[in-house]
């Protein structure tokens, strides 16, 4: 169908986008790799030459590595669990006939549009502040001692804040998936005497499985990169240092670029493992 000339025109039209993304990907990636093999501390002696795999070994053997991995897993896992479970429930609820459906949907989605620094600060100060926060008022009203959220239960607090931001995303996607569910199939099952629970587990859930997978994969990629929420709440203290935050601290705060870059390479590999699965699903979808 396409002629030779339109083909070459197409190539020219694609060139700028491909070129800038290629440069954007390759140049920093190569630099990170280069630095990761060198002992490079801009504030203490500068570039001290090749140390090869020393940085990679030092990064994983440092005492902060495993706690950071553990924290990362807890936060990513916790937020995924909350957003999937409540996302399914919310999507089911929003799919029911009701008055003012459009308005409720907007109320539920709104947190997604709040910038991360705002939501983190609003939660940190106005809700979780141990003297004047709303939670402290609430706890006192019941005669309990206010919880110092961000230092007593820091991981839980962060999961709460980040889940609040990501629940809307999961809900919206699952709702979209729900709406494509064949209602006749459900009605047939209902007439055949299937209980609501059975209808949920044998018809709705299998139908949702693809959407759930996609939510998990996309959120994992974004959650691995969570930064601003930690930056403005705990600054990595109280055991809230994730892998991303650890690398940030190595690179910019303590200016140990070699070590931080080795960590960066690990982060890239980790994200790629998740990305491969996501790409496979997206790629399959392209063929249809």
């Amino acid at each position: 169908m396409a002629t030779q000339s339109s083909r070459s025109a197409a190539r020219i039209m694609m060139a700028p986008a491909v070129f800038v993304l290629l440069v954007w990907m390759l140049v920093p990636l190569c630099m990170t790799l280069w630095f990761s093999f060198r002992d490079y501390r801009p504030l203490r002696g500068g570039d001290l030459g090749f140390v090869w795999f020393d940085n990679f070994v030092r990064f994983v053997t440092s005492s902060s590595f495993w706690p950071a991995i553990f924290t990362t897993l807890l936060i990513v896992g916790g937020v995924l669990l909350v957003s999937i479970i409540f996302g399914v429930l919310l999507a089911m609820l929003l799919d029911q006939p009701m008055w003012g459906q459009g308005v409720v949907r907007i109320l539920v989605i709104a947190p997604f549009f709040v910038m991360p620094t705002v939501s983190a600060l609003v939660w940190k100060n106005m809700f979780m502040d141990p003297t004047n926060g709303l939670f402290a008022h609430l706890w006192r009203a019941f005669g309990a001692d206010p919880v110092v959220w961000l230092s007593d239960v820091p991981i839980f607090s962060l999961i709460l804040i980040i889940s609040w931001q990501w629940l809307p995303f999961a809900t919206l996607i699952l709702l979209t998936a729900f709406q494509s569910l064949d209602s006749e199939q459900l009605e047939a099952a209902e007439m055949d005497g299937a209980s609501p629970l059975a209808r949920f587990f044998y018809i709705a859930l299998p139908h949702l499985s693809r959407a759930i997978t996609i939510v998990i994969l996309i959120q994992t990629i974004f959650l691995l990169a969570v930064f601003a929420e930690i930056f403005v709440t705990t600054g990595g203290a109280f055991g809230t240092r994730t892998l991303t935050y650890l690398i940030y601290q190595r690179v910019l705060e303590s200016q140990n670029v070699g070590l931080g870059s080795a960590g960066g390479v690990y982060a890239i590999i980790l994200a790629n493992i998740v990305a491969i699965f996501l790409m496979r699903i997206v790629g399959k979808n392209l063929d249809r």
């Binding site: 709104a110 709040v114 910038m115």
Partner: protein
């Protein structure tokens, strides 16, 4: 799933859904309400909900003290500039992939997506260093380019899925009538593509507005947008709840309104067409 239900059932659904919806929305509502209180009322125990002396004082104070307008202008400039630049680069690319697909189109699309998966922190230092060497740290134009690049894959993907929906027969008919590439683009495709492009602009403006990794790490004074402005409140200044609320409300209000219009695009834009 439009099924006949009793009014009673509908009433129960409505009640539960509204309670849950308001609960989720509450932090935003509370922030907006608090921004109109005095500092004393903002921390009052028991908290005052609606019956307080509404005041605009905090908005005045925030503007005066922090040169709010500069941060706002930077946010508009960064989000608008990066989106516009991204659209200029992405429209031709998405157009050619949608209408002149080749064997490699799918690979290119997936590869573009993969660049989006690259964790920013992995390339933080190289970008930081390049900015210093080129003398563009804390520079608006540099940040426009960075934000454009991180959103370009999403822009290309969204446009691609929209363009894909334009029926190819129309193009063939136009070609049959002797339309060249230029006419095809100008008179046939553009009018049909405008809604898709508008949606793409909307969603990417929102994403760029809220971006909080590069904007925090590559700016200090001159190019700092609202994300950085709010982050500066993490110091004890943030304990002035009413002022924090006023600053927050000003930072999120424009996007909440835009977000209202972009719910549908959100699914398409962030799932890369995998959920419809």
């Amino acid at each position: 799933m439009a099924r006949a239900v009793t009014t009673q059932r509908k009433a129960i659904n409505t009640a539960i859904a509204w309670i849950v919806g308001l609960l989720i929305f509450f932090p935003i509502l509370w922030t907006i309400l608090t921004s109109f209180k005095t500092e004393a009322e903002a921390i009052a125990n028991p908290p005052v909900f609606l019956f307080f002396d509404w005041t605009l004082e905090n908005y005045g104070v925030v503007q005066e003290r922090s040169n709010y307008m500069r941060f706002l202008w930077n946010s508009v400039f960064l989000a608008g500039g990066s989106t516009l630049l991204g659209i200029i680069i992405a429209v031709p690319a998405a157009w050619s992939m949608a209408f002149v697909p080749s064997k490699r189109t799918k690979d290119i699309l997936l590869w573009m997506l993969s660049t989006k998966m690259l964790p920013a922190v992995g390339v933080l230092y190289p970008i930081y260093l390049l900015c210093i060497r080129l003398g563009v740290l804390d520079n608006r134009f540099a940040l426009v380019v960075v934000l454009m690049l991180i959103n370009l894959p999403i822009i290309v993907w969204m446009l691609y899925t929209y363009f894909k929906e334009i029926p190819g027969e129309i193009l063939e008919a136009a070609r049959m009538d002797g339309a060249g590439l230029k006419e095809e683009l100008l008179y046939v495709l553009t009018p049909m593509a405008v809604p898709g492009i508008a949606s793409t602009i909307l969603l990417n403006f929102i994403l760029a507005w809220n971006e909080a990794f590069w904007t925090l790490n590559l700016t200090s004074v001159d190019a700092a947008p609202l994300t950085a402005f709010i982050a500066s409140y993490s110091s004890p200044e943030g304990l002035f709840f009413a002022k924090l609320s006023a600053a927050s409300t000003m930072a999120i209000a424009p996007i909440l309104i835009l977000g209202w219009f972009s719910q549908k695009q959100l699914v398409r834009g962030l799932t890369f067409g995998a959920v419809k």
